[in-house]
Each structure stands twice: as C-alpha cells, then as structure tokens.
C-alpha cells in the first residue's frame, strides 16, 4: 500500500483541529499548577493557533470540508471559553471580603472532636481554608 501524500490544506486542517481540541487536554494535565489553572494559560495560545491553521487551510482550499473543520474549531473554542469564564463563575462573597475580624465557631474535626476557632487563634495564627469538599 502506497502512502498517500497529504495536501497542504489537509495537513493544515488536521493540525488546526488537533491543536484546538488538544488545548483543553493540555490545560487538564496542568491543573495542578495554581497559576496555569487560574489563567488557562496553555489552552488559549494552542487553541488560537489551531484556529489560525484552520483559517489558513480554508484560504488555501475553499472546499466545504475545510470550512466545516474551521467551524468546528470556532465552536470548540467558544465552548471552552464559555465553560472557563461562565460556568465556573462563583457567587460574590461580599461578607468574607469585608469582615475585619474572624467569626468564631465550633465545628467537629474528621474524628468528631470539636474544634473552637478562638481557642486556636489565641495560641497562634490560623489559616482558615474553605474548600469545595472531596466529591
């Protein structure tokens, strides 16, 4: 079987799709890094580059298949941006942003033993860390 040489628009189109679809996966793999996670840094340039390559493919060959690939890339980038900025937005925490003193409480720890915040802070500085849970 002879290998078929792929034309330039086909290569551009495939590379464009790969980069645009791959961007979020690279992002997913780098979630452990706080700054990467917050900014989405690796995903955006990859996806935009993919879009550019898809655009170049359409410019080189205006057939429908290349336009469909480009449209898929635009849609994918839009979906990622929607998820990143919109679906992930949290309600404003006005009270936590404004209060100057901690509000005391007593809660059970993982062994059911009650812990009172003010009894801890008199001994030394406390970092109170609210998180979304283990689910």
């Amino acid at each position: 079987m002879r290998a078929k040489v792929l034309s330039r628009p086909v290569l551009l189109s495939i590379a464009g799709l790969a980069l645009t679809l791959g961007g979020p996966f690279v992002y997913g793999a780098l979630l452990f890094d706080a700054r990467m996670r917050a900014s989405g840094a690796p995903a955006w340039p990859l996806m935009v580059l993919g879009l550019l390559l898809g655009g170049l493919a359409v410019r080189a060959d205006a057939r429908r298949r290349f336009k469909v690939a480009l449209a898929a890339e635009v849609l994918f980038l839009a979906l990622f941006a929607y998820g990143f900025f919109q679906l992930s937005s949290l309600p404003p925490a006005a009270e936590a942003a404004r209060i100057e003193s901690a509000i005391d409480f007593t809660l059970p720890d993982q062994d059911g033993k009650p812990v009172t915040l003010s009894e801890r802070w008199v001994k030394g500085p406390q970092l109170l860390l609210f998180y979304r849970g283990s689910w």
Partner: protein
Amino acid sequence: MAELGELGEVQAELEKRGGGILAVSVDAPQESRAVVARKHLPFPILSDAGRSVIQSYGLVHARGGPGGSDIAIPAKLLIDTRGRILWRAIAHRIQDRPDPADVLAVVRKL
C-alpha cells in the same frame, strides 16, 4: 481539593508560631477522615455539614455541589492571635487557587 496537599510548608511555618491550618468543608467527618488519611494531611478538616459557618462568612455557593447541594466558595483567611483577618484570598471562579507561595510569604512575616 488538590490545594490541600500543597500546604505542608505553610502548616510548618504556622506551627513555628503556635498556629496552624484549619480546613473547612461541608463534608461529613468520616469523608474528611478518608481525605486526611489519604493525603497525610498535617492539619484537621472541620465539618460544616449544617452550612452555618459558610453562611456566616458569606461563603455559600448555593446548589454548587453534588445533587444541587450548597457547598463552600473556596477561600483562605489568615487570622492573627487577636482574631483579626490579616490576609484573604477568595475564589471568583472555580479554577481560582491562590498559589501557596503567596500565603507563605505573608506567614513568614508574622
């Protein structure tokens, strides 16, 4: 939850000053016990199953959790020995996670 494992150094610096980290989630104690064991956490996880604490701090993400339950908005508050809040970081988006280095720098100056 990945952020819990990265705080060993912060905990060590706080311990030097007689303090420590207190994590809070709405999970039941037994769920948190598994997390503390699995991640070998050097600090406790407190259970705000009744949501009263996240309510009082204004940190309720209504229907943000599994099955539409209310959970906490991710936040870090550094409290001094008089109960004053010295530093805080509150997430605006789910993916916001302050770098542990930021809070470490503040703790080292205490």
